[in-house]
Symmetry: C2
Subunit: 216 residues, 2 copies
């Protein structure tokens, strides 16, 4: 896979050592983030909306109610920025100035379009489901005709993107700071699952599925 | 504290039962989110940038390099949308259609302004530090004059905001779905800290501080 073209829109100008434009890295960060934040421009100014999403190749998919005003704007076709961020740790230098975060982030750009083709709609909904919880699509009841009519699916074909990754320890400290009596290092952060909480109406004898119990 | 005025910009139109406009809820969600996503409008279209932040009352603070192009636009004063999201779980209904997420999110709007007053700058930098890791501000070396000159601080005084919170189990399922042989319930998700990783250059005898070890 080739990299994304670097233009004025997606060029990382600050901390360029953290920048990546190859599709492998951009896709990996998108896949690692559970939710993304979608930016569009409305009459009053910028709007950022958190949402779950799915990815197939260079296309990001969203879904929601056909009654959603934000999705309506995206269905009509508009410039979109998709940001996905995974926080991996707090980097504690001896000075506040040199302290940082470890993270993986993607900022991607493209135009939105409504997805109407039944095949692409189904693939998109499966991609979203698989993104949140692999295995669920095969187990849960799929949308029926009435539910399908209530569901809007929107795609953003990524035209430009950049990833930023910081995954190392404390850096850039002046020599004299090393003499300070201040702890320095990395405090890792990660998302974990808790104990599955069964619905009170769960029928007896239905065990927690493996794909729920073992989700990382 | 009173609530935010509800206007066409911040009114939650979908799933209104999850909407909150009171300052307590909006502030609590902002405080619970480690990073936020900031949306601005550039010539080419929307841009969304992930960043750490701090909050004092109704003002959200960001900081970064004076060389940052994105911060430059915000320093000049522009319409900004700040979104902060905490994911609390995956809600697994028996159908994909009724499945959902548990989450807390805020979408806030305001104009950005450069922070130049030394007192407000210091309060802002402390708020950002306290937001990421309470206790660190008192322990680490604070910015010196040279570092201060390299640091831009931007404020967004929140004019409008809404919060959305979903924190319950499976709902809205049609009766017939309850008969399905599909597990239903909530898979909780939460962010946890790992074992602190000391900098290899750490001077001997400096223990992991309590505020690092005990951060939730």
């Amino acid at each position: 896979m080739s990299g994304y073209e670097v233009t004025s829109r997606n060029k990382v100008r600050r901390l360029e050592g953290r920048a990546h434009y190859d599709r492998e890295t951009v896709h990996a960060v998108l896949d690692a983030a559970l939710v993304c934040h979608v930016g569009i421009v409305r009459e009053e100014g910028p709007l950022v909306v958190p949402t779950i999403f799915g990815r197939i190749d260079d296309t990001v998919y969203f879904h929601g109610s056909v009654a959603s005003g934000n999705l309506r704007a995206m269905r009509a076709g508009t410039e979109v920025c998709v940001a996905a961020t995974v926080v991996d740790g707090i980097v504690l230098a001896r000075s506040l100035f040199n302290s940082s975060m470890n993270y993986q982030s993607v900022v991607a750009f493209g135009r939105s379009r409504q997805v109407s083709d039944p095949g692409e709609r189904e693939a998109a909904l499966k991609a979203i489901s698989d993104h949140v919880l692999p295995g669920r699509w095969e187990d849960a009841r799929r949308p029926d005709h009435t539910e399908d009519l209530q569901t809007a699916v929107v795609a953003v074909d990524i035209e430009q993107a950049s990833a930023k990754v910081r995954d190392w320890g404390v850096g850039d400290e002046p020599e004299e700071d090393l003499e300070l009596d201040v702890w320095a290092g990395v405090l890792p952060l990660r998302m974990v699952t808790g104990e599955p909480q069964p619905d009170p109406k769960l029928r007896p004898g239905i065990e927690v599925p493996g794909y729920v119990r073992d989700r990382e």
